[in-house]
């Protein structure tokens, strides 16, 4: 019974997306073109990678506000390292390492010292931004050469590399959440922390790991972003953490923790992407765009809230109930 309702929820997001796409194609003839649809995927891919990271953290009942700034810092450092060494692999791994270190610092304070994630990761925003700006003197990094293959190249001549990154990160997130013990622990901790502790889950270790993974994801998003921008621009990641929250919540991840899927997050992100795209295609005034987006977000959270108040249990995911079995 429960799992059927879950399927309905997924189904409804897909329905919303298709409904939007039909309306959009009627509103503007350019919308359904292959290039435009590919553009949408390209435009949402970086935020979506951030959303996978955010989603994992929100599932545990926490939040990671450092994602956007970390993306800016790790991406720019990777550019600097690439310019210095001309070794893409080295630069990429260095970026990943930076992400892991920042994630580990977040985890240290949130999981180990049990400080509120909201404050710790908020503070980490300025730490990240300060470090990169101190290093670059507030200047951007230009002439990054082949680093741009991380964001501007195409696989088989048609599939943008940014989309490939998004798909790979989607698969990783999906597998981790659905098919690993670690994933089930994330749901268990977010669903009921005391029960998770009672069940013998090492909450500190699992949470700490989740923040490290979130940091790595953010760093990868940052590197893809700098590749796409063909420059190392520390300030460009700002705000991605909130866009990521929006995408995950629209995608059905509960702010209270314990529920959410990678596929839902992906759909949430694409829905925002389609919305942005159609408004730009139609030349909707900037201010009207802001208002519209704001209300869509409120609407999504309203649905999230109503579905919880109305029928408790509707949002408990299959994997969450699996986690309960581990008790």
């Amino acid at each position: 019974m429960k799992s059927r309702k879950v399927d309905m929820k997924k189904y409804s997001l897909i329905l919303i997306l298709f409904g939007m796409m039909i309306v959009c194609s009627l509103l503007n003839s350019s919308f359904l073109s292959g290039t435009n649809l590919m553009n949408i995927l390209k435009q949402v891919s970086i935020v979506t990678i951030c959303s996978f990271a955010q989603g994992m953290i929100i599932i545990t009942g926490d939040i990671d506000l450092s994602i956007g700034y970390l993306a800016g810092m790790a991406g720019t450092f990777a550019c600097i390292i690439f310019v210095a060494t001309q070794n893409l692999f080295l630069a990429f791994m260095a970026g990943v390492l930076i992400g892991a270190v920042v994630g580990a610092v977040n985890g240290l304070f949130v999981a180990y010292f049990k400080l509120p994630a909201f404050i710790v990761t908020l503070a980490m925003q300025t730490v990240c931004f300060g470090i990169i700006c101190r290093y670059t003197g507030g200047q951007n990094v230009y002439k990054i050469g082949d680093f741009k293959v991380l964001g501007q190249s195409y696989i088989a001549g048609v599939i943008p590399i940014t989309v490939v990154f998004m798909v790979v990160m989607f698969v990783i997130t999906h597998v981790v959440l659905k098919y690993t013990k670690f994933g089930r622990y994330l749901y268990a901790i977010g669903g009921n922390k005391e029960a998770a502790i009672a069940a013998g889950i090492q909450v500190v270790k699992v949470k700490w790991s989740a923040f490290i993974i979130s940091g790595v994801f953010a760093a990868i998003a940052g590197m893809v972003m700098m590749g796409r921008l063909n420059a190392g621009i520390p300030s460009e990641g700002q705000g991605y953490e909130t866009d990521a929250i929006t995408a995950t919540v629209i995608g059905g991840t509960s702010f209270a923790g314990g529920a959410g899927t990678a596929f839902g997050t992906f759909l949430g992100s694409v829905i925002i992407g389609v919305l942005n795209n159609i408004m730009n295609l139609m030349g909707v005034d900037s201010y009207v765009q802001m208002i519209t987006k704001g209300f869509i977000i409120i609407g999504a959270v309203l649905v999230d809230s109503l579905s919880k108040q109305g029928r408790t249990g509707i949002k408990i995911m299959a994997s969450s109930s699996d986690a309960k079995k581990t008790k």
């Binding site: 310019v83 200047q139 700002q238 705000g239 795209n277 201010y287």
Partner: protein
């Protein structure tokens, strides 16, 4: 974007507060209590200058040290002030938050700085404070951006309208009379963006057959310029030029056009003239931009501050406009050399 929205909101609130408080003098007194905490934090960040015995203490209050132009200006000011034995410069960042900048102003006055150089976030909202501090005895200068609302404040600016004008004039020579253009704007309410856009209207668009196909706020961000351009190219096959109010958005649009294979068919115009733009012009991608020269600005500012402090300037203030420089493929070489020399570009 959130941050900029916030600063715009903040400006609105401050302006409203100022208007509301106009009747009574007391209400215009800035809250002194908030100052020490903010000031202490900001001061700790300032580069420790070598102590100059008995030197005049000068503070520079930039908008946001993580912004390319502000940090460049800070660097040039540091260099310019180092040439004077009797002046010493401290930098207090406002992190793009108007309230922080106002607090820093209070701190400077309270701590007895002899001169304050302000790179204002919102000149109109700050004018009343500046006027009051000057009246109380601390001279002020607005650098780079100024609505000229305070009579006795010094002013060293590159007029944003002129920056727009020189690029618009160049674009006028190179665009067909019936060209189709798209426009990328800075954050809502931003003086630079508004003035540059107004120059485009006056010089290029008004009374011409040029059509503005699309116009959106790109918040100065490269990624936004890129995203808008990707979408616009889906709807319009006939975009002849991108008129961007800064370089970053123009270069974002260039990346999008490159990807779509339409770079050759479209002209790109920016404003700012920093390292990224010089590279883009050198590579034949960006057509033109205009520079507000921080080096000239800093040298002039240091001169004026010195003359005011030593009493050489008897009026106590001086207002100057530094000329703006148009950068095109013809003269980009000298800027590439310059930015490489000052470290903004690496080989």
């Amino acid at each position: 974007m959130k941050k900029r929205l916030l600063s715009v909101l903040m400006a609105a609130v401050m302006t409203a507060a100022l208007l509301a408080g106009c009747g009574s003098k007391e209400e215009q007194q800035p809250a002194q209590t908030e100052a020490p905490a903010e000031g202490g934090e900001a001061e700790a960040e300032a580069p420790a200058p070598e102590a100059k015995e008995g030197a005049y203490k000068v503070a520079f209050l930039p908008t946001d040290m993580s912004a390319t132009f502000a940090s460049w200006l800070a660097e040039e000011l540091t260099t310019a002030f180092a040439a004077y034995d009797d002046m010493e410069l401290t930098i207090m960042d406002s992190k793009n938050v108007l309230e922080t900048q106002l607090s820093n102003m209070e701190t400077c006055v309270a701590q007895g700085y002899d001169y304050v150089i302000l790179l204002p976030l919102e000149p109109a909202a700050e004018d009343d404070y500046v006027a009051q501090y000057i009246e109380e005895g601390t001279p002020f200068m607005n650098i780079n951006l100024d609505d000229l609302g305070v009579e006795k404040a010094s002013s060293v600016i590159a007029n944003p309208y002129d920056l727009g004008t020189v690029v618009a004039e160049f674009a006028k020579e190179h665009l067909d009379a019936d060209a189709n253009v798209v426009v990328l704007l800075g954050p809502s309410g931003n003086t630079d963006s508004i003035e540059r856009r107004r120059a485009y209207d006056d010089v290029l668009l008004n009374g011409s057959n040029i059509t503005v196909l699309e116009e959106q706020i790109g918040d100065w961000e490269k990624s936004k310029g890129m995203e808008f351009m990707e979408s616009w190219m889906q709807v319009h096959d006939d975009i002849d030029a991108v008129l961007s109010m800064n370089d970053a958005m123009a270069i974002g649009a260039i990346e999008a056009a490159k990807d779509a294979g339409r770079l050759d068919q479209i002209q790109f115009y920016g404003v700012d003239g920093l390292a990224d733009a010089a590279v883009a012009i050198e590579q034949g991608e960006l057509n033109a931009t205009a520079l507000q020269d921080a080096q000239v600005m800093a040298t002039e500012a240091a001169r004026i501050v010195h003359e005011v402090l030593t009493g050489e300037n008897t009026e106590g203030y001086e207002k100057i406009q530094i000329p703006v420089t148009l950068i095109t493929p013809d003269n980009v070489g000298e800027f590439i050399t310059r930015y490489t020399e000052n470290g903004m570009l690496t080989e």
